[in-house]
């Protein structure tokens, strides 16, 4: 059974890049286009890892993390937070909300794989 990973991002190109990269590496990937869809998916199924973008319409990544972590079933599921350099201070906020790590956009596929391997195994 390949490990399942949820990617929450409104940008199709990012979702695609993440999906392709991870699928090639043998993971199975579920895509969610915003926080609300992401929460729905995350609560319905326990993923090996969740990756979420910060800048999304309706619900920010930070809000998504807070909402997800309020559900006890999220305990032990690692979340990686995607942001850009300019969004200083968010890293700490995301960590406080319950993210395990973060990645700064733009990133290379190798970096993504290294982080996913480290976090999801």
């Amino acid at each position: 059974m390949s490990k399942e990973i949820l990617i929450v991002d409104d940008s199709p190109s990012v979702r695609r890049m993440v999906s392709m990269t991870l699928q090639q590496a043998g993971y199975s990937v579920t895509e969610a286009v915003d926080g609300a869809k992401g929460l729905e998916a995350a609560k319905a199924h326990r993923y090996a890892m969740v990756i979420t973008d910060q800048n999304m319409p309706n619900m920010t990544g930070l809000e998504f993390i807070q909402a997800y972590r309020s559900d006890p079933s999220s305990s032990g599921v690692p979340i990686i937070f995607l942001s850009t350099e300019s969004e200083g201070g968010l890293k700490e906020a995301a960590r406080a909300a319950g993210a395990l790590g973060w990645m700064v956009k733009p990133f290379e596929t190798e970096q993504l794989l290294a982080v996913v391997k480290k976090v999801a195994g």
């Binding site: 319950g98 790590g101 973060w102 982080v115």
Partner: protein, 669 residues
């Protein structure tokens, strides 16, 4: 005003930093674009400057400031390391060393060297490959032996999906199979207050080998900010002390985190912001360790006395306690001895520098290779070894190696080789200084020895012994005095120093192919396992390691009355010394005397004794200078009943046996 302790701490720190600085500069000579080493040199300079200023060395601080600026230029890519820069930097190093020792060199030197440093980094036109050092090399700084790592992850680490086990696995991937992990459970709350999802444990990890710091830190990607992470590089020189977990009382109880801990972290080069490095490493004044060793020696003696009394009283309970104390005393002895063990690498920097200087002054090109610098020896041995080794390395380069032209003519590679190798062999350490030079000229040495009256024309002395004559006082064949061999010790001091360490020296040399000096040294000088023997009501100790066999004295030898005899052992004739006669003891020998076969330098001698008493922890006490002429004894020890037993010098006994054998052969002829 600085108190003595603070001063001492500063001195020790400066010493370590200077060692690192010199080491770094010498590494840069060979690998000028190793940015990590450049950074190490810079850090060392920076710390010397900072602490120097703090401790009132203002001239030093301002000079080092300029020195540092030169390396800042290299570090930031504005300049590159050139052989000139290394040479100037080494001279600048010498000036700092002099200033640190309280010397007052000509102030003009400061300006002169500063100008030279500037010229070496900025004066020259930027070389074409100025951008070259951009690529980071993977080589770790030469001296790191292992990493000590202590980390505590945030309590919610597992809650948010982290996996400490995976981290440990990653560390094992980085550090290999010999990574050791210890769980730190000191922050575990009482069970009633425990949150089952929280992570309370910390981890203490040792990663052996020269691993890049970055590789270790990568494991903690994302978490370094939220966790406690102490990463300390253990350098070769420091690895000697097996780091007691608690700081002993000696370490300034009033300010535990203050001066004692800080310099340590700095020396550990890879800076460690939280200065708890003292947990893993502790620098202790050598005489304190000596004091412990003395007391352990006294303890072992007292313990032996207790054992003797207990054996007399035949009290079961007392005997039990004695056994416990015996075990503890032995354990204490072993760990104290381990404290005294110092790796040879602690003095290697000096030799690398020496070889650099020798290459400069002699114009000979050669590689200086060190093997086994991690080999550990008793601190005293290491200290006393420095001068003899300096002499022998200098000798190898000065007299052993040929000039590049001569080598080319002889069909050898122009680059010569000088190798210093060290290894353990049983209770001894073997150190070899090997060169691939012209070898020793036996005929010239014979001639000179005859001139000096060390032997006669017709002496039948084997080649190996002839070669050793170069170590006799006043012996020197056509010695050209170079700038370097002008100072320092003579060859005879080498012999004396090695013998004072109960070691021996052998020389092998192949004309045209080079010379090897082989030193054999005992691991330790403080306490040895001894064999107690009885001769005419007196007791003597022999180093147990020198004892090869114990035999009943054969009937026909027992009857003989000559001072010496031989016994056949594995098809080899071994001379026999009757200790009763050696010590001029009268009276009736024991009914069943024994022969103890002892060996040294591949030669053996049999000692006829009246009685074998047993093994004993022999705490070696030096004989007074009045008795130092008695070569047959190497020291004395105190026995359990308070009596003194003299320790027999095996090397001397073996020579004695050989002399008598030679004399007998002479008579027979």
């Amino acid at each position: 005003m600085m108190d003595a302790e603070t001063q001492e701490i500063f001195r020790q720190e400066a010493e370590a930093l200077m060692e690192a600085l010199q080491e770094g500069l010498l590494v840069l000579k060979d690998t000028p674009d190793d940015l990590e080493v450049v950074a190490g040199v810079f850090r060392a300079l920076h710390t010397i400057k900072g602490t120097g200023a703090m401790f009132g060395f203002s001239r030093l601080a301002s000079f080092v400031h300029n020195f540092e600026a030169a390396f800042e230029a290299v570090r930031s890519g504005k300049a590159v390391v050139t052989p000139e820069l290394v040479n100037v930097a080494l001279t600048a190093y010498d000036l700092i060393a002099e200033l640190l020792e309280g010397g007052d060199p000509d102030p003009a030197k400061d300006a002169e060297l500063t100008a030279a440093l500037n010229a070496a980094t900025t004066g020259e036109a930027a070389p074409a490959t100025a951008a070259a050092p951009a690529a980071k090399k993977d080589a770790a700084p030469a001296k790191i032996e292992s990493w000590d790592l202590q980390f505590r992850l945030p309590q919610d680490f597992m809650e948010i999906g982290g996996n400490p086990i995976a981290m440990l696995d990653e560390l094992r991937e980085v550090g290999g199979d010999s990574v050791s992990v210890r769980l730190l459970t000191d922050r575990l709350p009482p069970i009633a207050q425990m949150d089952p999802r929280a992570l309370y444990a910390g981890f203490q990890v040792t990663l052996p080998g020269t691993i890049k710091e970055g590789a270790i830190r990568d494991v903690f990607m994302f978490h370094e900010d939220q966790m406690e992470l102490n990463l300390t590089a253990v350098h070769a020189a420091e690895a000697a002390a097996p780091a007691p977990a608690e700081a002993p009382k000696a370490a300034a109880p009033a300010a535990p985190a203050a001066p004692a801990a800080e310099p340590k972290a700095e020396t550990a080069a890879k800076a460690n912001k939280a200065a708890s490095a003292a947990v893993a490493q502790l620098r202790v004044a050598a005489d304190r360790v000596d004091l412990i060793m003395d007391r352990v020696g006294e303890l072992v003696i007292a313990e032996a006395r207790l054992a003797a009394i207990a054996a007399q009283l035949q009290n079961e309970a007392l005997l039990g306690v004695v056994e416990d104390i015996q075990r503890l005393a032995l354990g204490l002895r072993d760990s104290t001895m381990a404290l005294r063990m110092t790796p040879l690498s602690s003095i290697m920097g000096r030799f690398r520098r020496l070889s650099h200087d020798l290459a400069e002054t002699t114009g000979k090109t050669f590689d200086f290779i060190v093997e086994g610098e991690e080999t550990e020896l008793d601190k005293t041995v290491v200290e006393k070894l420095t001068d003899p080794l300096v002499h022998m390395i200098r000798n190898s380069v000065d007299h052993g190696l040929e000039t590049p032209e001569q080598r080319a003519e002889a069909g050898k590679p122009e680059r010569g080789l000088v190798k210093l190798s060290a290894r353990h062999a049983g209770a001894e350490v073997i150190i070899e200084i090997i060169d691939d030079g012209r070898g020793m000229n036996e005929a010239a040495i014979r001639k000179r020895a005859i001139e000096r009256g060390l032997m006669t024309e017709d002496s039948d002395i084997p080649r190996s012994e002839v070669l050793k004559m170069v170590l006799e006082p006043g012996f020197s064949t056509a010695e050209q005095v170079t700038a370097l061999s002008g100072r320092g010790v003579g060859a005879d001091v080498v012999k004396q120093a090695i013998e004072s360490l109960n070691g021996s020296i052998d020389i092998t040399s192949e004309p045209g192919f080079g010379t090897t000096f082989c030193l054999r040294l005992p691991l330790t000088l403080a306490i040895i396992e001894g064999l107690l023997i009885g001769v005419a009501n007196d007791r003597y100790a022999l180093p147990l390691l020198a004892v090869e066999q114990i035999l009943e004295l054969p009937e026909k030898l027992a009857k003989g009355d000559s001072a010496t005899d031989v016994i056949e052992l594995n098809n080899e004739l071994v001379p026999v010394l009757r200790l009763r006669q050696v010590f001029n003891r009268t009276g009736t020998p024991a009914a069943h005397p024994k022969i103890v076969i002892v060996g040294a330098n591949d030669t053996r001698v049999g000692l006829v004794v009246d009685e074998i008493i047993g093994t004993n922890q022999t705490v070696i006490k030096q004989l007074s200078p009045l008795h130092s002429r008695l070569k047959i004894f190497s020291g004395a020890t105190i026995l359990g009943d308070g009596c003194v037993a003299l320790i027999l010098d095996v090397i001397h006994l073996v020579t004695l046996g050989q002399e008598i054998e030679q004399r007998l052969k002479g008579n027979a002829a």
